[in-house]
Each structure stands twice: as C-alpha cells, then as structure tokens.
C-alpha cells in the first residue's frame, strides 16, 4: 500500500514538474507549482525523512525524552505531536519566507521555486529535524551549548556572535520593509499605528482582567485589528486626518526605531507578548486562507520562467543567479535561525523521539510551502508591474514616466496609466518604488483574495495584507530586540559582571539602547539610500543566516562522526558543503566585484569618485559620505561572516579527523538512555491521559 502511494506521488510530482518544464514559453498555472511542491514534500517526508530518522539519527521511541524525564508541567511538558508541531511552526515561520521569494522573483519563477523545494527537502528540513533530535537527546541544550560541548569553545562563541549579528541585520531590513510599505500611505500608516494600542489592550486584558484567557483575548485583538484596517480606509478619505498620517520615510524610520526601543524596555506583557499572540493567529489564518484561495483561483503565472536578469543586472538587487538566488532565499529553503528554535524551546515539548520527523521536518516543509505561496503571489503580477513596485528610484528613475520607460525597455511593458489604476484600486496614491517586497506581495495577495472572495474589496484586502505583514514584522522586531539584548548582556557580563544581570534595570536600558542603535543605524542608512537599501541589507542578512545554518550543520556533522556514523555524514555534510560554496561565492562577489551594483567596495569607490568630481545632485551628495562608510562597513561584516563560517567548518573538520584517526575527542554529551513509560497523549486537556504513572 505504501509503495503504491509512493509511486503515485512520484508520478504526480514528475507530471507537475514536467508540466512546469514543458510550458516554458507560455504562462503556466499556479496549480502546477502547488502540485509539484506538495508531491516533492510528500516524497521527501515519506522516504528521505523516514530514512534519515531511522538510519542516520537512530530515532528510538523507546527512549524517554527530556519532556518525560523532567516533566514539571511548565516548560518541560510532554506534548501531543500536532500541538508541538503548531508551537514549532508558529515559532520558526516569520516574515523571511514572504520577503525572500518576492525578491528572488526577479530571476523568474523557476530558479527560486526549485531552490525552495530542493533546499528544503534536502537541506533545511534535514537541518531542523537533526538539530531537534540532537538537542532532545541532550536535555534540550541550545545550539551554542552543543557547539561548545561537541566542537569546542570557538564554535559556541561563533554561534553567539552569529546570532547577535543576524538579529541586528534582520530587524534593520524588516524595519525597512515596513517603512517602505507605510511611506506616504495614510491608510497603511494609520492601520499600523492602531495595532500598537490594540496590542496593549490585549495585554491588559490578559494580565489584569482575565489572566491567561489567551483565545478570547486574541479573538478580541484580531477583531480590533480588522476594524483598524477598515478605520484606516476611513482616515484615508478624511481630508484633515489624511495629512496627519501622511509620513515620509525618514520620520517613519524614526517611529520604528522609537517604537522598538520603547517595546524593548516596557514589560513584555504590555506589548511584546500580546502582539505575538495577534501575529500568531493572523499568521496561521492568513496562510490557510491564502492556500485555499490559490487552489480555488488557480491563477496564471505571468512572470517568465527565467528573466534576462539571471546575468546579474537585476533591478531589485545586483548579482547573478549563482550564487545570489541561494542567498536571497534563505528562509523557506534553509534557515540557520531555525536551529535556535529547534534547540532549546521545542525539545522540551517532545513526548516521543518518533515525533521529531513531523515536528522538525514537517514544520519546515510547511514554512517552505509558505515561501512557494509568496513566490506565486509575486509572479502572478504582470512582470512590468512587479518591477515598477520593487525597483528603487535610484535604478529606474524617480519620475513615473522615466520608471515605466526603463522597465518597458527591459521587455516588461507597463504604463503610468496602468500603475495609477492599480494604485487607485489598492487605495494608494502611488505604488512606484515600494521596495522590500511587502507591497508587491500585498498586491499579489489582494488580487488572489479579491478574485476569490469579492473583487470590490481590493483596497481592503491590500491593506489587510499590509497589516498582516506589519504585525508579523513588528512582532519579530520586538522579540528580536529582546533576544539581542539578552545576548549582549551575556557578552557584556564578561567585561563588567553587573551588566550581565538580565533584570538589573540600568543594564536593561543600556543594552537595549545598544541593540536598537545597532539596527537603527542600518535602518537609517537603508532609508537614505536612493537604491532602496533592501538591495544591500537583504543579501547581507542571507549570508549571515546561511552562516548560522553552516554552524548548525557543522555541529550535526561533528556529532554524527563522533558517534560512529561517519558513513552517513553526507546527509548533513552535503548541504553544509553547498551552503559553504554559495555563501563564500556570494561574499567574495560582495567584497571583490568591480561592478558597483554588486561589489560593496566598488560601490563605495564609485560613489566617492562621483562625490569628489561634484557630479552628484545636492541631496545625494549630502547622503554620500554615510553611504560610503556604510558600504565599507558592510564589506567588513561580510568578510567577518565568511571567516567565522570557515573557522567553524575547520574546527568541525579537526574534531572529525581526530575521531577518524582514533585520537581522543571530547566526551559525547548525550544524556544516558532511560526507557520511556509515557502513554499516548490526548489532543485536548480535558481528556488528557498524559503522564506515565
């Protein structure tokens, strides 16, 4: 029976992928992509994941998990696998898989789609499942601790620094995405501002009025933010209020930075925790709605399979398809960040080792599917429209007539009239140069939802999508700033002990300010950059995230070799090798390329030359010194990431070589075997039979 299902899946996948391959010169239907994706995931889950779990990881359901051994009813709680799946998915899936595929769509729909599928099934899902099992075997230790125990102190330090830097870059680029969605859009700005008091109201409800009634508080909050979307539409038509919420990017960046700082120093129950509940429910609901709508509507993909931008002169970001598609799409294919969630929080919920395949591999499959849906939403737009929304003014010109002329000359016809009509339908004054991916994703989602559930409400759907992305992003911004603060305090504690105390208020204030200043700086430079800033920050974030994945895969490979499974090491070694190649190639080009659209140092040199020659317009000349400094700083950061990546890989190689030559290595840190006595769990608490006694 299983074999028949497998053969059917393989046939389905082959037919769908064949369909994609054969319809190269005419538009294909999104349903082919969805079918191909579902079949690839099903095959990966059914065969590869099962094989890796059984043979490589030796998953042993008879072995008691930390959740069973330390069950305290609080953080160590044996949890039904579908509930742990929900927790884990909600934790790993952020805005990353929405932004990356949208940017990578400049190469056409095919490269990004293939990388999302192959990268997830052979790389990202394997990484998440492996780290989840290894951490479960080690009492739920964090990635940094495992790196220290299994490789040495350098690995642990690299994981800490890597995480801190990723966090700062991620928040900066996400802040930029929100700013670009809000600039000169009174509707979006009013709606997003309104989500702050809504979150606080939910927070007060949960803390003071009815503690812990999360479902009802979230339902109230979701209803209020939906109301905020409609209220934003009313503000947009109001002559005076409209002006109040019409902000340009620089003050908006100031707002985001101020918001981030206040959120970081306020108690979590007031803003961070309630916003996170809202974001989780919106995320699950919107993802489900989008999947249903795509299947019901099954739109045509209008973007070609491959565009001429594979040669490196794309308007969203410079760089050839290799290696940049693999850097641009990190979340959704392989995301190193997941290793932090898969070690630490989730292992304490695992009831049985048999569940790691569903929770580790399965959650990442679902995130990868979210990335596929983002790719569909980006590529169903007219390519001309897609490029008009996503190209910075510095690339295509700031006047609409100039922008459409440039974009049409690339072979993607678009008119000013078409863009005006679209902006009007979406309830905006303009959609030109809204870089960062969120607005074009919102246009795509609005078209899908509008066509499926009622065309008259396009502008409401558009602003619903913007609100959804913003709530998501601001929630990541809050949580990220807080995590960054803890890590910084951990580091600073080595210099001056009281700074390491996480509840000492001066230290909280000081370290929060440092973290916010860190990402605030990159956000500010991104805002003043005429090319939109995302083109520089996103690849940098991608490189950093892939570096963290390489650290996680190095830890996994090291443990496999140390535990005598060197013959299976390729399972983690091959994704590691691929990531090392693409990250190094991308970093090399970002630093050394002579093309100012790609090379950071070349861009700094070119800008300096223009500045010295006095050929820059006044405004650009004023911003130039900061941009030049920032490009050099980014080049240094890229170099540091690459150096750390290779040092960790060499460290892993050293440990593996010692083991293979029979020399002593550090003792395995796996917790000793203890037989599981846990009975199967019920899904809901009322009927719970949890516990072994």
């Amino acid at each position: 029976m299983n074999k028949i299902v497998g053969v059917l899946l393989a046939l389905g996948g082959a037919i769908a992928l064949g369909g994609i391959a054969l319809y190269r010169h005419e538009p294909i239907n999104a349903l082919w992509i969805v079918t191909a994706a579902v079949c690839v995931y099903a095959l990966g889950y059914r065969f590869y994941a099962a094989w890796v779990a059984a043979r490589v990881l030796s998953v042993d359901p008879s072995r008691a998990t930390p959740a069973e051994r330390y069950d305290n009813g609080r953080d160590f709680v044996p949890t039904h696998r579908w509930i742990a799946f929900g927790h884990h998915f909600a934790a790993i899936a952020g805005p990353g898989p929405l932004v990356g595929p949208t940017l990578a769509a400049q190469f056409g729909y095919l490269p990004g789609t293939l990388w999302i599928l192959v990268g997830a099934v052979l790389g990202g899902c394997v990484q998440d499942m492996t780290i989840l099992l290894l951490s479960t075997r080690r009492d739920g230790r964090s990635l940094g601790q495992m790196a220290r125990d299994e490789l040495g102190p350098f690995g642990g330090f690299a994981a800490l620094i890597g995480t801190l830097l990723i966090m700062i870059l991620l928040i900066a680029v996400l802040g930029l995405v929100v700013v670009n969605a809000m600039k000169h859009s009174p509707w979006s700005t009013a709606t997003i501002f309104a989500t702050v008091p809504v979150a606080m109201l939910v927070g007060v409800h949960l803390r003071r009025l009815r503690p812990g009634r999360i479902l009802e508080a979230s339902a109230l909050g979701v209803a209020l933010v939906l109301l905020a979307v409609l209220a934003g539409g009313w503000v947009d038509t109001h002559p005076q209020l409209r002006g109040v919420f019409d902000w340009s990017s620089l003050p908006l960046a100031g707002f985001v930075i101020g918001y981030g700082w206040i959120a970081a120093i306020l108690p979590v129950w007031l803003l961070l925790a309630p916003r996170d509940y809202l974001s989780t429910f919106l995320k699950l609901g919107t993802v489900a709605l989008l999947a249903v709508a795509i299947v019901l509507l099954h739109p045509q993909i209008k973007m070609p399979a491959l565009t001429s931008f594979v040669d490196g002169h794309g308007p969203l970001f410079g760089g050839k398809i290799f290696p940049f598609v693999f850097i641009t799409i990190a979340c959704g294919a392989v995301s190193g960040f997941h290793a932090l969630i898969a070690s630490g929080t989730t292992p304490k919920l695992i009831a049985s080792e048999a569940d790691v395949r569903l929770i580790g591999y399965g959650s990442m499959m679902l995130e990868s599917f979210v990335a596929i849906m983002a790719m569909i939403a980006a590529t169903l737009l007219d390519p001309g429209v897609f490029f008009a929304i996503n190209s910075g003014a510095g690339v295509v010109g700031s006047a609409p007539a100039a922008a459409v002329h440039t974009i049409s000359s690339w072979g993607f016809p678009v008119t000013v009239q078409q863009m005006q009509t679209l902006a009007h339908e979406m309830g905006e004054t303009t959609l030109f140069a809204r870089t960062g991916g969120a607005p074009s994703l919102a246009v795509g989602m609005a078209s899908i939802f509008g066509s499926t559930f009622g065309r008259g409400l396009l502008s409401v759907w558009y602003h619903f999508a913007i609100m959804f992305e913003a709530v998501f992003i601001l929630s990541t911004l809050d949580a990220g700033t807080r995590v960054g603060r803890f890590m910084l305090q951990d580091l600073l504690g080595h210099l001056y002990a009281p700074l390491g105390r996480t509840s000492w208020y001066p230290s909280v204030l000081f370290s929060s300010t440092l973290v916010v200043a860190g990402w605030g700086y990159f956000l500010y430079v991104g805002v003043i950059d005429p090319n939109g800033g995302v083109n520089i920050l996103w690849p940098l974030f991608g490189i950093a995230n892939q570096m963290l994945a390489a650290i996680a895969l190095s830890v996994a490979t090291g443990i496999l070799v140390k535990s005598g499974k060197a013959r299976y090491a390729a399972v983690t070694l091959l994704p590691l090798a691929w990531l090392a190649i693409v990250t190094t190639a991308a970093a090399w080009q970002k630093i050394m390329s002579a093309d100012p659209r790609i090379g950071l140092l070349a861009a700094a040199r070119s800008l300096a030359t223009h500045l010295a020659a006095g050929t820059l317009p006044a405004q650009a000349a004023a911003a130039a010194p900061q941009l030049i400094f920032n490009q050099r700083l980014d080049a240094w950061l890229t170099g540091i990431f690459t150096a750390v990546l290779w040092l960790v890989i060499l460290d892993m190689g050293r440990v593996c070589a010692r083991k293979l030559r029979g020399l002593p290595v550090s003792a395995p840190s796996e917790a000793p075997y203890q037989a599981a006595r846990l009975q199967p769990l019920a899904l809901s608490a009322g009927l719970s039979q949890e516990g072994g006694t």
Partner: protein, 67 residues
C-alpha cells in the same frame, strides 16, 4: 450515515479544532498544569495569574521567535 452521525462528526471536528487552538496558544496551559500538579502532590498549586506571569517570563527570556 444518519443525520445524527454527521452532526456528531461535525461536533467532534469543531471540538478538536478548538482544543488544538487552545493548546497551541497556551489557553489551556493552566489546566494542564493543574492536572500535572494534582498528580505530583507538592503543596498548593500556583494561582492562575502567577502561573501565566511565570510562563510569559520564561517564554520571552530566550529565542522563541524566528525570521
């Protein structure tokens, strides 16, 4: 299949969905804690408010959200 069966099946599906939502949001975490506590017999259980305050503090002291 009778009407009663269909109604029962729908009822079960709705109950399972609500149960899943309660569980993944943490809405039923206190009830689960009470069940656990009743088995372990260690003094009086925490109050609902204290339980959620502690839970929130723990949740936001580490990496709990990703990109």
């Amino acid at each position: 299949m009778t009407v009663r069966n269909v109604r029962a099946a729908i009822g079960q599906t709705v109950a399972a969905t609500v149960g899943w939502l309660r569980a993944i949001s943490g809405d039923d975490a206190y009830e689960r804690y009470l069940i656990h506590h009743a088995r372990s017999h260690e003094g009086p259980p925490m109050s609902r408010r204290a339980f959620y305050e502690e839970r929130e503090k723990r949740k936001w002291s580490g990496v709990s959200r990703c990109c």
